[in-house]
Amino acid sequence: MLTDEQIFDVLDGIATTEMQQQHKHLLANSTEYKTYFQEIQALHLDLENLPIEQPSAQFTENILAQIQFEHHVVKKKSWSSQLTYIFFGVMASVLLAMIVFAFVYIFSTNTTIDAPANHWFATTNIFLTDTFVKIAIIANLIALLVIFDKKVLNPYFSHRKIRLS
């Protein structure tokens, strides 16, 4: 008696000559084997004849439509990915312009400012201490970072997250 694996090899056409001869012999002489072989053969033929399923009629069109959408997304992505560079570019240009302007202004002018003797200035001078200036600078820096996070980093990374998901 051949094993199941050997019977499937016979059906798949990959059995050795010896195996095929044994199969033929068993088929001719053993009713039990013949019945069992026919059972497996029926399954094999059924599997071979399984129908090919067909998707909906709009299958191809749906994909092509999505590809157009993808192009749109890509276009949007390329703009937003440059947002950071645009921001840094503008900031660097402004900084450079200010430095140039400051140098030109310092070397070309000589200005003396006389503070008027006003009691109002005496009140404001209380706040113009070294500590106050440092705190103000830190507060400004934090505000700048918050704005940068909200306007640049957050939109950039949320878009990136959508694209990856």
Partner: protein
């Protein structure tokens, strides 16, 4: 020009922006992609979604396909992985056997007895396939559907050809057992 060469030609045309080539490629493989996904997922909607996603992935990863393997091998691996992931995600269960059998008998009442019997057997096999693991179903589908070689199946499922052969054999055995179990259940319900 053989099938794979045709696919490669189409892929090259797609790379140059030829949309018609992409359409042709989809039409060439959509039925098989859908069938593979459907056999694993047992849901037409999910299978269609997975097959569509697979084609989208092909479009997105055109440059990563170097043409060393057959296009279908690469493509079916995408379909197989996507369907497997979807199956794990959604845990789809097989449809009720009795309902579908009744629906079939109603819709095919005019068929001859022989074609009815054949159709019933096919239906039973499809249902038995749905009760097998996704791995077993995939093995049998690839082996019988497009007559992929053991080497190709091995490449798609990322195992060795020898393991693929053993797996196919085991899957067939499990299918036969599942069919017998179903038959026994039907006989028991008749008695």
């Amino acid at each position: 020009m053989n099938d794979n060469q045709k696919d490669i030609t189409l892929l090259n045309r797609i790379r140059t922006g030829d949309k018609l080539a992409y359409k042709e490629l989809i039409n060439r493989h959509k039925d098989y992609a859908f069938t593979v996904a459907y056999r694993i997922l047992n849901s037409r909607e999910d299978a269609e979604e997975i097959a569509q996603d697979a084609f989208m992935q092909v479009f997105g990863a055109l440059n990563s396909f170097n043409g060393e393997a057959k296009f279908t091998t690469w493509f079916y691996r995408i379909v197989f992985n996507a369907a497997l992931m979807q199956k794990r995600k959604k845990r789809i269960f097989a449809a009720d056997i009795e309902t579908s059998s009744e629906a079939f008998l109603v819709s095919h009442s005019s068929d001859s007895t022989e074609s009815l019997r054949k159709h019933e057997r096919q239906k039973a096999i499809q249902q038995a396939l749905q009760n097998l693991s996704a791995d077993d179903t995939m093995m049998l589908t690839l082996f019988y559907l497009k007559e992929q070689s053991l080497e190709e199946i091995a490449e798609i499922t990322q195992i060795s050809a020898e393991t693929a052969k053993v797996k196919i054999h085991r899957a067939r055995k499990r299918l036969a057992e599942e069919m017998k179990r179903k038959l026994k259940e039907e006989v028991r319900s008749l008695l």
